[in-house]
């Protein structure tokens, strides 16, 4: 297959006199300059191309070095074979429809593209890999996306085989500097609870890609981590388990510290990028930090919003060398070492666990497929680096909690301390409270079950992603004294309404219902979802607004029933 691939250099490689982006990154490492990367994926390829031109010109006009690389954030149809792309439901984002599109991708401006989202991972992995290679792209992703599903493609075996063939193609060009990229958070690590397992997972992917298939692998990561110290340590740990020193393709900027307040997000941006630059300056990983536009949590950033943060990113390269010498890197390195040890434990547990179960761990297809089918939670429960501890969601005490888990656990501690101070440990003893979620968000449901249990409630944990009909069935069988629902998917009003109706029909209409989370819903005639708390209250659903006030409301309910 590789023999039929006719490659030509990209505009960037030609202008910079390198054969591949890898060579450029290695040069950056030797010479000590820093690279930057950006994500771009406007509504169509035409708009994206125009955006690239404008960003490039904008940088030149401001006197900063243009970005070294952009990641093409193509929409999901790119994962489908070309002949199906036009007919598949359209989402927002560019799609490469023709070979002209592919050529333009690498020849519009001298910024090196990565063929990123939806290139490799889905059913069209092989043809996308060929197109990307022929266009002159030398970093191609995204291995971790093999865990994704494409609409109406539930043949996970066929999909895995496609990914492996595409990886084999990249392996054929390894000596030419072609790199297989994997953004960890697009795969199971994105929902892991322990950073040590991130590192271990990266080792598993590297083992499959480099040792079993022969393709150089770069683990990218970073979007779901806010703490700059932790982020530095994890980045260094990922480099430490990278024996061939493949340059880290990119480090994604923080996306969880941001809020709808764009000005406040400037602080997130500056701190995040400064630390990433310091790590690059000190350790020369050959990576490229991505500065995240401050608007990204609210909308797909426009080209000028990308250009703005690229300018900030370049300016911070001047500050990194000033601050870097006074940072206590010893602490960060100690954390790195702990993560590496934990990562090795995870990796060994995976290999031993799978081979013990009769899996051929020298067969990349078996490895990938089995891990995919085990699922993220199960992988962490089975192979996690942390010591077993039932206090934690995944049954193990993390070596280093992910930021998402950390903030959840901190909130849990705060609530427990507060409830303790208010002497409310026994406040609702014996009250049967059914807790569930309308969507896949597990952390809010976790906080609810933990804190309600701490105030003595008999918690009925009904899991996540439930329909009103399911909740009614559960209430009938358990005779729950109260139903507590967390929701984050913009369906609060219709969900609440249907729930109350169905409870009435089933003859358990008197059950108190509480809802929290994001209590809004899309309505016709409004661009943004509207607040529906008043509608919920009118329907008889209480909206206490916080877990503390939920506990108060449950205590009040109990007092009422005692009086009655």
């Amino acid at each position: 297959m590789a023999a039929g691939v006719e490659r030509e250099p990209s505009l960037f490689c030609r202008e910079n006199g390198v054969a591949s982006e890898r060579e450029w990154r290695e040069k950056a490492r030797t010479e000590g300059f820093t690279c930057t990367c950006m994500n771009i994926g406007l509504a169509t390829w035409a708009e994206t191309r125009e955006g690239l031109e404008k960003i490039y010109e904008n940088a030149l006009s401001r006197g900063v070095r243009p970005p070294d690389r952009f990641n093409l954030i193509a929409e999901r149809r790119m994962g489908l074979p070309k002949d199906q792309r036009a007919e598949a439901p359209q989402e927002t984002g560019p799609v490469m429809m023709t070979s002209q599109d592919w050529w333009e991708l690498a020849h519009t401006v001298p910024i090196q593209p990565e063929a990123a989202d939806n290139t490799i991972g889905g059913p069209a992995s092989v043809e996308n890999a060929i197109d990307a290679l022929q266009a002159g792209i030398t970093t191609i992703g995204v291995l971790s996306q093999y865990s994704w599903r494409w609409p109406y493609f539930d043949d996970d075996v066929g999909q895995t085989v496609e990914v492996l063939k595409a990886a084999g193609l990249l392996a054929a060009f390894k000596d030419d500097g072609v790199i297989f990229d994997s953004y960890l958070e697009d795969g199971y690590p994105g929902v892991f609870h322990d950073y040590a397992n991130y590192v271990g997972w990266a080792m598993v992917e590297r083992y499959v890609s480099e040792e079993l298939i022969g393709a150089a692998l770069s683990p990218s990561w970073g979007g779901l981590t806010q703490d700059p110290v932790v982020k530095s340590a994890v980045t260094l740990a990922l480099d430490a388990v990278n024996p061939d020193k493949v340059p880290l393709s990119y480090v994604q900027g923080d996306t969880i510290g941001n809020t709808p307040d764009f000005d406040a997000n400037m602080a997130v941006l500056n701190t995040d990028v400064l630390f990433m630059k310091m790590v690059e300056h000190r350790y020369r990983l050959g990576g490229a930090p991505i500065a995240v536009p401050v608007t990204e949590t609210e909308r797909i950033p426009s080209w000028d919003e990308v250009a703005t943060v690229q300018t900030i990113s370049r300016r911070l390269e001047d500050y990194a060398p000033m601050v870097e010498p006074v940072v206590d890197w010893g602490k960060i390195e100690a954390l790195r070492d702990e993560l590496v040890q934990g990562g090795r434990r995870f990796f060994e547990a995976v290999i031993n666990g799978l081979s013990g179960a009769g899996i051929d761990v020298r067969d990349p297809a078996q490895m990938l497929l089995v891990l995919k089918r085990l699922g993220s939670a199960r992988c962490e429960e089975l192979f996690g680096a942390g010591a077993p501890d039932p206090e934690y969601l995944r049954g193990r005490r993390p070596v280093l909690q992910t930021d998402l888990v950390k903030s959840t656990m901190q909130e849990r501690e705060r609530l427990l301390v507060e409830l303790h101070e208010r002497r409310e440990q026994e406040a609702v003893r014996g009250t049967k409270v059914l807790v569930t979620s309308t969507d896949v968000h597990e952390f809010s449901a976790f906080l609810l079950t933990q804190t309600l249990a701490a105030v003595g409630a008999d918690v009925i944990d009904f899991g996540i992603n439930r329909d009103p009909e399911d909740i009614v069935k559960a209430v009938v069988e358990t005779d729950a004294d109260a139903v507590v629902i967390t929701t984050h998917n913009g369906v609060a009003r219709s969900f609440g309404q249907r729930l109350m109706e169905e409870l009435g029909v089933a003859g358990v209409g008197g059950t108190p219902v509480f809802m929290g989370g994001v209590l809004n819903e899309d309505v016709e005639g409004s661009d943004v979802p509207i607040d529906v708390r008043a509608d919920l209250n009118e329907n008889g659903i209480e909206t206490p607004g916080s877990i503390d006030r939920l506990v108060d409301a449950l205590v009040d309910r109990r007092a009422d029933s005692v009086v009655a």
């Binding site: 085990l374 992603n465 399911d470 369906v491 003859g507």
Partner: protein, 462 residues
Amino acid sequence: VGVVALADFGSTYTKVSLVDPEEGRLLARAEAPTSIATDLMEGYAAALRDATESLAEPVEIERELAVSSAGGGLRVAAVGLVADLTAAAARQAALNAGARVEAVLAGTLDEAQLGELRAVRPEIVLFAGGTDGGQAELVLENARRLAAQGLGGYAVVACNAAVAEEAAEILREGGAEAEVAANVMPALGKLEIESAREAILRVFLEHVIGGKGLSASPAFAQMVRMPTPEAVLEATRLLSRGAETAPGIGDVMVIDIGGATTDVHSDRLVEAATPGIEDPLLPPPPTLRTVEGDLGLRAGSPGVLVADGRWIEAEAEASVDSIRQSVSKRSGQPQWIPEDPAEAKLDGLLAIGCAAHAVTRHCGTMLLTRGEKGPPTLVRDGPDLREVTRVLGTGGVFAHREDGERILREALARRAPRSLAPADPTLWVDASYILAAAGLLATHDAGAALRLLARELHLVKS
């Protein structure tokens, strides 16, 4: 040689197998008409005599064991609160006890449901409802409504443990003999049917089988160990899990095509994890029996035409009228045997129809659902048996025909889209009709039963 006699009291025939437990060898088989009008032991004696006389040397019968579906089998009604929670759990407990589930009632029992119950006259009511410490009021209300019927008979109470004794007492006051078992669904989504299953079997052996008036001889009730379908489920479990003496063969599905029903039994040792596919509210148990009362080769054959008529008509290359005639001939005569190639072919097609539909109903289906918001989700509505590696056919059709494997192959090839039926299993057939006998023998000597299965199903070279 010490020999075990394994009897199967069916509604039409009483079958006897003589087995050498040491060798796991089937020595002889014989059958005689079930002597339902006089004494069941008469038919047994005739079959046993034929079997022993067919042997070259006299043998000593060291033990006599039996399964029975004579006199209507074991008829159970399942009662619960929510149809797909405690009522479904109760139903599954009864099925896994080898019962014929005559009615499944859910919710607060109304007059129509109680009328249905009176009409089916179950021998045992399996009474469920509520999680442990959960719903009490509606459960007790159902007990009172049942008691008011004065049904008599037997009840197994497997409801909310907090009120189980109280519910049993109410049922006793209504004239039933009630015993308490563990809750079939002690917590939401948690299916625990073993205790109820054992209680049903105990009541069957201690009271029901002796009370049917099938034999004047006390030996009959002493021989019977379980209802016939339970023996097939036991054998299924033995095949997959093995015994202390030898390992099993792993996940297995057994398709039992009978004259009146088609049963499917499956046993999974490990639940395949299917990330991204959500479980049903009440995940199915690892050992699962389903019964399709509308799919069979004789009394059940009109149901096959309803379910699968177009396919059968297309494949049979015969007129619709002649197929209807052939089927109605079958439905009235359980013992009828096809006389010509066209009828034999139709039997084969009916068997494929029975197996295809019974397997589809036994296994889950993957459904793509899209909520008002959020990504589409895949939900499964039953067990995921795609990776079951062995599928075994049992029943007369597999014992008497040469093309049993083809029947299974064609049936499985017709798996419905998105079905979670076995995707690529090894197929084999119970040509010596040994499965139920092996399940029965397992109650006495699991190692011997496993040896018998291994030899007769050619799991190992004999």
